[in-house]
Amino acid sequence: MNVMIEATKLTKVYQMGDEQVHALRGVSFAVQKKDFIAIMGPSGSGKSTMLHIIGCLDRPTAGELFIEGLNVQEAGGNKLAEIRNQKIGFVFQNFNLMAKATAVENVELPLIYAGIRKRERRQRALAALERVGLSDRIKHRPPELSGGQRQRVAIARAMVTEPAFILADEPTGALDTTTSGQILDLFAELNDEGNTVILITHDPTVAQRTHRIIELLDGRITRDSSRNGVGA
């Protein structure tokens, strides 16, 4: 199967008091396997809502969303948790690591929820940490790591479950330029290795590193381009 995500007329309406806020107004797009995509837009454009919906943290008000052919709309709370666990690898702006756990324990966390045995868990977590270049930091806790290293731990955590796609929300938002570049290099490498990567960002320089940019404004797609000209 080559279509990872298929979104059709996604609509999200929030009720804010008496007022209805239309965060998404019928957004349709598809993400192919091995895509490297940036979803861009200023704040209020609906990109956070987009993150929540394709991240299966929230459901659209209307429209359809399929992830690897699975109808998200029909999934219950537990099924959604399972989809998040198995299909999606989250990377957050603020890393969201467990401060008191070691790097390897942090990476193991999604595998615990997947019900993987301890020995296999440890092996896979170590492999993921090795992949992001942190083999010498496995017993370190997040406060003992630099920002870039923390984000690498988070990326290792995102890819350890071998998800359908990695979904990163402003992954360089808390990092300096040099470190940002290194993290983006890592995403590019992971993409080259066959991983599907979606970055949510407001930063055009970040978006430039990807192969395809979806621009959002006022809950609509205003541009969906491929830098090499193969837009969807």
Partner: protein, 404 residues
């Protein structure tokens, strides 16, 4: 996520917050320690009280006048007047379920031997006293029928009296003086009782025993006795014997007021009831501190949930189900309260030991009491954990992740 993983992560979470974990446990620790300590001391006290009742004798029935209030023109004390040596003899002859009826009078005075003097309770009684009370002479002899008939001025000493006045020396055959008010009585020592220790109504060892006739006529100058002690022919016959004695007294007095007839079993029962009630009350007080401890745990769990909102959001994003988070926080709460319970149990046992070692009280540490206290602490943890855990489980991951 299986239960083992949940427990591991709960313990880990508590470990990483040691001081807070300890402080929130404190209520449970104190509660469980209090319950265990109190119940142990209470059980010890209960069994020593029951021992004291048993030590009174075997199949013993106590018959005594009750203090009554005089009403109108009648004179209080009718029942008291009824209690005489004749009554004892009459009861022994007519109540077939009683093998022995021993009258007893008591008075207090000063014993003098050479330079030493000692305050002692004087008991006037009959030769059957040792048999009824299951309390015998160590050296010399007890009273003889002739001593009572002739009102001979002889005395048998309680073991502690003998030790205090004579030390290791043999007191038999010596004379001591017993002073009541301004009257002095010279008594010849004919025996020393064995050591019996504390029993329910005083210490037998610090009493002296004289013929009841001599005590009533010469020392106390009274016509009435203070108590009749009877022995039922068997344990089964005791309650019938009580009824017989009551009927006899009722037929003399025309009322059921004014006297008490109590069998040893009834005493044991009463004492047991009193001890049980007291213990229940104390344990309930301990239980209240457990409940307060539970509120402390719940409070900490609620704080923990709101403090860890982002963590909860992250866990949800990584695939934690509602059930996982529910379990996580309930297990954390359980771990808090049961660790507290375990520490409290140890502390309670130490308190009980300290009370018995330094206070000289009998204590009894019993498995069921420990088990109940511990189970209760676990229950408190469970109840305290459910609500915070539900709060955590139902958090919206989007809101939780954006929580600052």
């Amino acid at each position: 996520m299986n239960i083992l993983e949940t427990m591991r992560s709960a313990l880990w979470s508590l470990q990483s917050n040691k001081l807070r974990s300890f402080l929130s446990m404190l209520g449970i620790i104190i509660g469980v320690a209090a319950v265990v300590g109190i119940v142990s001391v209470g059980l010890g006290a209960q069994s020593s009280v029951l021992d004291m009742v048993s030590a009174l004798g075997s199949n013993l029935i106590m018959i005594s006048p009750a203090s009554t209030v005089a009403r109108g023109g009648s004179v209080s004390g009718d029942a008291v007047d009824l209690f005489t040596v004749d009554l004892a003899n009459h009861m022994q002859e007519t109540v077939h379920n009683m093998s022995l009826v021993v009258p007893q009078v008591q008075g207090s005075g000063l014993l003098i031997y050479e330079g030493a003097n000692l305050r002692a309770t004087l008991v006037g009684t009959t030769p059957s006293y040792p048999e009824v009370t299951n309390y015998h002479v160590q050296t010399g002899r007890f009273l003889h029928e002739l001593d009572v008939e002739n009102a001979t001025p002889v005395v048998i000493l309680g073991s502690r009296i003998a030790e205090n006045l004579f030390g290791q020396a043999n007191p038999i055959g010596r004379e001591l003086t017993y002073v009541v008010g301004d009257r002095r009585h010279s008594l010849t020592i004919i025996g020393v009782m064995e050591s019996k220790g504390q029993v329910l109504m005083g210490n037998y060892d610090s009493q002296v025993y004289v013929p009841i006739s001599y005590a009533m006529e010469r020392i106390l100058r009274t016509q009435t006795v203070s108590t009749l002690m009877a022995q039922a022919i068997s344990a089964e016959a005791a309650s019938t014997a009580v009824g017989d004695a009551e009927f006899l007294l009722y037929s003399r007095l025309g009322t059921t007021d004014g006297f008490n007839v109590t069998s040893q079993d009834e005493m044991l029962e009463t004492m047991g009831d009193v001890a049980f009630t007291l213990q229940l009350m104390l344990a309930a007080i301990g239980g209240i501190s457990l409940v307060v401890g539970g509120i402390g745990v719940m409070n900490i769990m609620l704080v923990s949930v709101s403090e860890r909102t982002r963590e909860i959001g992250t866990r949800k994003a990584l695939g934690a189900k509602r059930r996982d988070l529910l379990m996580q926080f309930i297990v954390e709460s359980l771990a808090l309260s049961t660790s507290g319970g375990a520490i409290g149990m140890i502390l309670g046992v130490l308190i009980a030991k300290a009370v018995s070692d330094f206070g000289g009280w009998a204590t009894s540490i019993e498995g069921p009491a420990l088990a109940i206290a511990f189970t209760f602490s676990a229950l408190v943890g469970l109840v305290a954990g459910v609500y915070p855990a539900m709060q955590a489980a139902k958090l919206d991951p989007v809101l939780a992740l954006s929580h600052e």
